[in-house]
Symmetry: C2
Subunit: 551 residues, 2 copies
């Protein structure tokens, strides 16, 4: 059986556009002599379609698109992910489905059985569970191949929570028992750093145990916070990788699942490089899918804005990026020099807009209220908010996407100003811990012809420069320490006691956890942030605000 893996990048909600791309790939697959062409999970509406699924006209239009796609499947079978409505029985009557389309007919339809409802996933909000396997005969010359349809989480049936197996059954095993000679899995599996290795290991173990080959087609592209890494796979019945599509890019791969010579096995990038590519894809797709014309970034001379700018240049090209330095009375000369050098190295447009005039005017406005009270956080935030307002004025005036430059460590502990440096449409590195921001800076400097991020930006002590002689470590532990505590607390939900057992002082751990919990209100109002860790702030973390915290 000759199979085409169509690893496309759908736009969420763009049913007509996605259907056109699907039909186009069906035609290409036919030209390649494929018997079967496979698309990713919910390819017609794009994944995740979220509350669009609650609109009956949206579901109807998505089903009409499937009809058009089906009509295009002459002499080829296509497996197409879509939202299926079903008038029978009890429940929502809405399924996350894979249709097998051939010669104008939906010859079989599978409904996803394992519906992830944790982290960023809300599938039981939208879908009913399918109630059994689906094996479809695919004509191959004068024979048929019995192909078992499954969707994404079905392959992750050994998922655990606190050491317990979450799901009660294994849809893959059931599909093989139902006679499948090949397992198809259509997927939209969001990237996080390191997940890829787990994915191949988990898939290979199941496939080897069941003794049937796997054709796995994953979505690629950025959809808001979620970054889909593609890297679609073909495994033989022993679990060995026969073919792998590109990571972080669209791809089209034609394979013969029974083996054969000429299969591409694209490399999967190592961890840090995968983070970089994921962020580049996320920026590019958010920008493109929202229809922006260019990007504006505030350049402080610090490492966060430097890495954000470098990512933006890689995603969109230097000509689309404007860097703006906004020095204040507390800005060091070095910061302005560093910002200018960075802009020059990257070849981006660069402006300097000093904030002293507005800063002084704002102080005068507040004189009668603030009186002789000592300066504090309020005064620091004023400066950050003036900068945010200037950047938003440029964004509004020129239709630019403002990229926020805050990292995960500072967003975690609230070391950022709401409506100040948190302003922006997309938070490019808000899920990147500060220590990894440094790693990315070094990676950028190693990978180009010459270093683009001035060495001084990497080596100087990080500072918000909102008062005299300020550095981040006035109030925070070293980032090497902070990031370990944050990772255990946020991504792994470890109790304070267990974090202390790693060898940290209890007072320090408690203080950090308290800072995280007290900053929930800020994160509530943060822009969409690109997810690269196993647990990002945003849709994957749902915390109460007016709550008593543990610390």
């Amino acid at each position: 059986m000759r199979t085409a893996l169509a690893q496309i990048n759908p736009v969420v909600g763009d049913i007509d556009g996605n259907a056109s791309v699907i039909i186009q790939h069906i035609n290409i697959a036919r030209e390649h002599g494929a018997h079967l062409v496979v698309f990713s999970e919910l390819a017609v509406p794009g994944y995740p379609p979220k509350d669009f699924v609650l609109r009956k006209d949206f579901v109807r239009r998505n089903e009409e698109a499937v009809d058009r796609i089906t009509a295009a499947c002459t002499n080829i079978t296509a497996i197409v992910g879509h939202v299926r409505s079903d008038g029978h029985g009890v429940g929502k009557g809405i399924f996350n489905a894979a249709a097998a389309c051939r010669d104008g007919r939906i010859v079989a339809s599978y409904a996803k059985q394992l519906l992830p409802t944790y982290d960023v996933f809300d599938e039981t909000r939208y879908f009913d569970r399918g109630n059994g396997p689906c094996v479809v005969d695919v004509p191959v010359e004068n024979a048929v191949v019995r192909v078992g349809l499954t969707i994404c989480e079905d392959l992750w049936n050994d998922r655990q929570f606190e050491g317990r197996r979450i799901y009660g059954h294994d849809p893959i095993e059931d599909t093989v028992k139902a006679g499948a000679e090949v397992i198809i899995n259509i997927s939209a599996s969001p990237y996080s750093a390191g997940k890829y290795a787990d994915r191949e290991t988990i898939f290979a173990a199941q496939i080897a145990a069941l003794g049937v080959p796997l054709i796995y087609v994953n979505q690629v592209g950025g959809n808001d916070d979620l970054l889909f890494d593609g890297a679609s796979l073909v495994l033989d019945q022993t679990g060995r990788v026969l073919a792998r599509a590109k990571a972080f890019d669209e791809d089209f791969l034609v394979v013969d699942h029974m083996g054969g010579a000429d299969h591409r096995i694209e490399p999967y990038p190592e961890r840090l490089e995968s983070i970089r590519q994921a962020l580049v894809l996320g920026i590019r797709d958010y920008f493109r899918k929202c229809g922006f014309r260019d990007v504006v970034i505030g350049l402080s001379g610090g490492i966060d804005s430097a890495v954000t700018a470098a990512l933006a240049v890689e995603a969109l090209g230097a000509e689309r990026v404007l860097g703006v330095a906004m020095p204040s009375r507390y800005s060091s000369k070095g910061s302005l020099v560093d910002a200018e050098a960075l802009a020059a190295n990257l070849g981006i447009r660069y402006d300097v807009i000093p904030i002293e005039g507005v800063h002084t005017a704002m102080e005068m406005s507040l004189t009668s209220q603030f009186g002789d009270l000592p300066a504090g956080i309020a005064e620091e935030n004023i400066q950050a908010r003036i900068r945010g307002s200037i950047l938003m004025a440029l964004s509004n005036k020129f239709g630019s996407l403002l990229l926020t430059t805050g990292n995960k460590s500072e967003l975690a502990v609230g070391y950022c100003t709401l409506y100040g440096d948190m302003c922006g449409g997309l938070a490019a590195i808000s899920d990147v811990p500060k220590t990894v921001v440094y790693d990315l800076a070094r990676l950028f400097n190693q990978s180009g012809d010459k270093p683009c991020i001035p060495e001084q930006v990497i080596t100087k002590p990080p500072s918000a420069e909102l008062k005299e002689n300020q550095t981040d470590q006035d109030t925070l532990p070293p980032y090497e320490v902070l990031d370990v505590i944050l990772e255990r607390h946020i991504e792994r939900h470890w109790p304070i006691d267990e974090i202390v057992n790693l060898g940290f002082e209890r007072n320090l751990v408690s203080r950090i956890v308290q800072m995280v919990e007290r900053s929930e209100y800020k994160r509530k109002q943060a822009p969409v942030g690109l997810k690269v860790t196993s647990l990002a702030f945003g849709t994957g973390r749902r915390m109460p605000i007016a709550a008593k915290t543990q610390s």
Copy 2:
């Protein structure tokens, strides 16, 4: 059987505090001679505990609190809502449970069977389904009463989606079949306008059909966006209301479910008054549970800030409220007069901080970028952001809660400035359509000794006053029209065609829907808003941003 309904207002996450309140009410119930005392759903952790439930130490502490509560149940049975962990079987092993506690033992435990996962609810994210009814013998003098335990959604088992019944079985019927002589339902049922009547109708119909009485204990209080209205109920076996606790306030009601003389039936407020009381409760509880000292509100002289200020005064007292007028070159004299009159009528502190100085300084800063381009939205937003920054400076300096004053209609169509008038910790009226804001203003003016909101504020054409001679209706249809379209589109998910069929022009409906869809990025960054309609922006509406929309 003498039963106490303990309608308490738990703080989410405050396990120790909530447990103390529960034990206190157990003791009071015993003093009243009650055989049984009933608390609301998840009373120990508070509802909704959200991702706290993912922390094993949180679940452990909540179970330890249940042990302490159980130890306090001497000679009385208490029904206590809590998170139950369970080491057996497949699944998360976490349940939304009701424990029947007596004489130091948990004599029975029920796990909720119907787990709402729609709108603001994410219960399958956290909990496994219970698998059957639980009937417990409650000792009453020398006999026992067989009491059936159920939780919230179990009573809403006829819930529909698009005309289909969602749930496959009826836990209430199963409980009666298992021998229950009385149904207990512990609940945390969020308020929306008009929901109360549905609730009594639905409950009464089921109870009458099954022929057993109902004791229904609902949570009261505001927890972030969700407002719980209490109004706990006792229905006799015919579905007749025997007793009703207060709406929007804590209450403690002792009843004999077999009838009896002296039962209180508190009135439930009519629709508009219920909205007012819900908002007052929401402001008060967010303020109190977050630990703020006072409140600051920007007073524009318009109706939204006037109603927000009136609500804040009712919630917290005039002495805790500061109103700040921030006139610009475009502010009418009338606006300042109206703001001042409002502040005087309400008896709140009042300051005027003109923004001209900062406005001019900001324009000068942007001269080189903006050049001779005609003024537009960017220039308007600058003014709103200066005001937002001033209010946030006061909030940061004095620890005040900034209340955002935007209404649902303008938030829907994006007629608001991100980081400008959208600044704040809590959006008091962001789920109140503009037409209802007017109704609330009139209600306030009718209900006090004398009108608090100047008549001029109600009668003048609404305007953002961000440029010369601006009114909302320059770009929007009349609010009476807008609000009807928005309600159909947002709360009911109606297709454009069906809205047009109400008699509106297609161009108008399409334009409004498009405005709603293009403003999703603003709402992503909006503060917590108090939910009073059947579908509010926030946790109940989950939309993609970088998406192709329908219009």
